[in-house]
C-alpha cells in the first residue's frame, strides 16, 4: 500500500431512491441503487468500473461529480470531504465528466465555441484569453480550429465526443469521470476516442474513472478494475489479476462472455457457464447474495447471507461464499 493520499476515496457510499405511490405520494420503499460501495482512485490511475445497465454505475458517476447527493457514506477528494468542497469552484474545477451520449451532451442551439467557453467563463478566465484557449482545446482533441463556429448537428458522433472531452478538459481537472464515453459510437470511432483519451492522460497526468459495461474494452488500459452488480461491488483488483484469476462467478461469466477472435484466446478464457437471465430490478434485490438467482455456483448460504467483501489476493477482493474468509496470499 502506498502512503500517498488517494485522489478520490469513496467510503461506504449508499444511494436510495424513494418509491412513491398513491394520491399523497407516500414513500412505500426504496431502490438501493448503490449499497455500501467503497474504493480509492490513486493519482495517475485509470480505474475501471464495470457492470450491466441497472447496476448503479451511472448513479455513482453522478454522485462523484456532484450532480446528485449520496444517501449515506462519504467521498473524499485528496483527503477532504467532498460535501464541504461541493459547490466551491475549486472542486468543480478538479473533477469533470464526459457523458455517454455526445448527441445530447452538447446544446444543439450553441456553437462549439460557445459550449467550450462556458467552463472557461465560469472559472475566471479573462474574456480575452477564452478564444485562444478554445483553439488550444480543439487542437488537443485533434479537431481543426474552424470547428469553433460549427453547431453540433454538423458534427459526427466521434467529433461531438471530442468536443465533449475538450469541454471537460477546459478547466484542467485532475480527475475525469468517463461514463461509457464510447458506447454510443461506432467501433472504428471508439478506438480513436480511446486512443485520444490515453494520449491526453499521459500528456496532462490525469486520472480517470472509466465506467463501461464492456469488459474487453477495459482490459487494455485500466490499472485497476471493479465489477458492480445491483449496487454492490462484487470484485475489485488490478486489471491483470482480475482477468487472469477472476474470483467471483459473475466476473467469470462476464469475462467468458467477451467475444474472442482466435482459438488461443478462447483457450485462455475460464471455462464457466454463461450467466443466465436478466439482472433483477434494483427495487427488488434478492435476499442473501444478490447474484444467487443467476449464479451457476450458488449453494445454500447464498440464499440466506450476504457474503463479505474478502481479500483473495494482493489488493484483490471479492464478495462470494466460495471465499469464506480473508485468505490473503
Amino acid at each position: 500500500m502506498s502512503t500517498e493520499v488517494p485522489l478520490l476515496q469513496v467510503e461506504d457510499l449508499t444511494k436510495l431512491f424513494p418509491i412513491r405511490r398513491g394520491l399523497f405520494q407516500r414513500v412505500i420503499g426504496h431502490v438501493r441503487a448503490i449499497d455500501g460501495v467503497g474504493f480509492d482512485i490513486r493519482r495517475g490511475e485509470i480505474f475501471g468500473l464495470a457492470g450491466e445497465s441497472g447496476s448503479g454505475k451511472s448513479t455513482l458517476a453522478r454522485i462523484v461529480v456532484g450532480l446528485d447527493g449520496a444517501s449515506s457514506g462519504r467521498i473524499r477528494f485528496v483527503g477532504e470531504d467532498v460535501h464541504t468542497l461541493r459547490g466551491t469552484r475549486g472542486f468543480r474545477r478538479r473533477v469533470q465528466m464526459v457523458f455517454q451520449n455526445p448527441g445530447s451532451s452538447l446544446n444543439p442551439r450553441r456553437s462549439i465555441e460557445q459550449t467550450l467557453s462556458v467552463p472557461l467563463r465560469f472559472h475566471g478566465i479573462a474574456p480575452s484569453a477564452i478564444a485562444p484557449r478554445v483553439r488550444e482545446l480543439l487542437e488537443m482533441v485533434e479537431l481543426p480550429a474552424s470547428f469553433r463556429a460549427k453547431y453540433p448537428f454538423e458534427l459526427s458522433g466521434g467529433q461531438k465526443q471530442r468536443v465533449a472531452i475538450a469541454r471537460a478538459l477546459a478547466v484542467e481537472p485532475e480527475l475525469l469521470v468517463l461514463d461509457e464515453p464510447t458506447s454510443a459510437l461506432d467501433v472504428s470511432v471508439q478506438a480513436k476516442v480511446i486512443e485520444l483519451l490515453m494520449r491526453i492522460r499521459n500528456e496532462l497526468d490525469l486520472s480517470y474513472l472509466f465506467i463501461s459495461h464492456d469488459l474487453s474494452l477495459m482490459r487494455n488500459f485500466t490499472t485497476r478494475i471493479a465489477v458492480m452488480y445491483l449496487g454492490k461491488l462484487c470484485e475489485m483488483g488490478f486489471t491483470g489479476d482480475v482477468f487472469d484469476h477472476p474470483a467471483h462467478p459473475y466476473t467469470q461469466g462476464l469475462i467468458s462472455s467477451v467475444p474472442v477472435v482466435s482459438e488461443e484466446e478462447a483457450a485462455l478464457k475460464p471455462a464457466v457457464e454463461r450467466i443466465r437471465g436478466e439482472i433483477p430490478s434494483p427495487a427488488n434485490v434478492p435476499p442473501g447474495c444478490s447474484f444467487h438467482t443467476r449464479c451457476p455456483a450458488a449453494f445454500r448460504p447464498c440464499r440466506i447471507d450476504d457474503p463479505a467483501f474478502v481479500q483473495v489476493g494482493f489488493e484483490h477482493r471479492t464478495r462470494c461464499h466460495l471465499f469464506p474468509r480473508d485468505s490473503t496470499a
Partner: protein
C-alpha cells in the same frame, strides 16, 4: 471537402446557421397553407403600418362625418362602402388593423416574457417554487379568458387600454404552462447537466442553455396567440368594453354596423371578414411553423 469548394451553392464562408435557415425556408415553401398564412399576415401588417398612405380617406379614421355619402354600398370610389356617418369603411378597416396589431403587440409583449419567466423558474427549480407558481397558474387557467376580461373591463372603465391590460392579465398563464412542460423535459438533458458540471450559474443555464431551446415552441405559440388576441379584443369592443368610438376598431365597427343589417350589410360584414382574415392568417402561419419546427403546443 474539395467538391464542396467547387459547388457554387455552398460558399465556404456562408455560416452554418444561414444554411439551416435556407433549408427551413425551403421546407416552409412546400406547405401551401403556411405560405397562405404568411401572405395574409404580411398583408395585415402592411395594411396596418401603411394605413396613412394606403387609405383612400385617412380622415375617416377619426370623427370625420359626411352625411351626404352615408350608407353607400361598395363601389370603386368606396371599396367597402360607407357607414352611418359617411366614413369610408375600407379606410377604417386599414386603421382597424393598426388597433388590432397594437393590441397583439401590447398583450403578448407584456404577458409572454412574464409567463415564460415563471415557466422557466417553475420547470427548472421544481419543489415549492413549482407548486406555488403552477397552482396560481391553474387558478387563472380555470377562468375563461373572455369572461374574466369582461369582468375586469366592466369593473374598470371600458377603454382600449383597460381591455389590453385585462387580456394581458389572462394571457401569461398559457405560456407558463407551456414553458413549464418544456423545461421540465429539458432540465435533465445532458447538456444542462454538463453546463452544471462546468460550473455555470443558474442564470446562464436558464437563459443561455434552456431558453434558446424553447424559442421554437414560443414562436409557434405566439403566432397562434396573435389570432386569438385579435378575436378576444374584437369581442370585447363588440360588446362595448374595448376600444371606444371613434377609434376605428374592427369589433366596434361590426357592432355599430350590425344596427343596419341586413340592408347595409357591408358596414358589419366586411369588417367582420377583415377580422377573420387576420385570425386565419396567424393560425395558418402558426400551424405551418409548428410543422416546420416540429414542436408540440397543446
Amino acid at each position: 471537402m474539395s467538391d464542396l469548394a467547387l459547388s457554387p451553392s455552398a460558399t465556404p464562408d456562408e455560416s452554418s446557421r444561414h444554411r439551416a435557415w435556407r433549408r427551413g425556408w425551403y421546407r416552409f415553401r412546400r406547405n401551401p397553407a403556411a405560405v397562405a398564412g404568411l401572405v395574409l399576415v404580411v398583408l395585415v401588417v402592411v395594411a396596418a403600418l401603411g394605413a396613412p398612405w394606403l387609405a383612400p380617406s385617412p380622415e375617416s379614421a377619426g370623427t370625420f362625418v359626411n352625411f351626404g355619402e352615408r350608407h353607400q354600398p361598395p363601389s370603386l370610389h368606396h371599396l367597402f362602402g360607407t357607414d352611418n356617418v359617411g366614413r369610408d369603411v375600407f379606410s377604417r378597416v386599414l386603421y382597424g388593423y393598426r388597433v388590432s396589431l397594437l393590441l397583439v403587440v401590447f398583450v403578448l409583449g407584456l404577458s409572454v416574457p412574464f409567463g415564460v419567466l415563471l415557466g422557466l423558474l417553475a420547470g427548472y427549480y421544481g419543489g415549492w417554487i413549482e407548486t406555488v407558481i403552477m397552482r396560481i397558474t391553474d387558478i387563472f387557467l380555470a377562468i375563461p379568458a373572455l369572461v374574466m376580461a369582461l369582468a375586469i373591463t366592466a369593473a374598470l372603465s371600458p377603454s382600449l387600454m383597460n381591455g389590453m391590460i385585462a387580456i394581458s392579465l389572462l394571457w401569461w398563464n398559457w405560456h407558463t404552462r407551456l414553458i413549464y412542460t418544456t423545461v421540465h423535459a429539458l432540465r435533465h438533458e445532458e447538456y444542462v447537466e454538463a453546463a452544471k458540471i462546468a460550473g455555470a450559474s443558474d442564470a446562464h443555464i436558464l437563459f443561455r442553455e434552456i431558453l434558446p431551446n424553447c424559442i421554437s415552441v414560443i414562436s409557434v405559440k405566439v403566432t397562434l396567440d396573435a389570432g386569438f388576441v385579435i378575436l378576444i379584443g374584437a369581442g370585447l369592443s363588440f360588446l362595448g368594453l374595448g376600444a371606444q368610438p371613434p377609434t376605428p376598431d374592427l369589433g366596434t365597427m361590426v357592432a355599430s354596423g350590425a344596427n343596419y343589417l341586413p340592408e347595409d350589410w357591408w358596414e358589419s360584414v366586411l369588417p367582420g371578414l377583415a377580422i377573420l382574415f387576420a385570425i386565419l392568417g396567424f393560425n395558418l402561419l402558426g400551424d405551418g411553423l409548428r410543422d416546420l419546427l416540429d414542436v408540440e403546443v397543446s
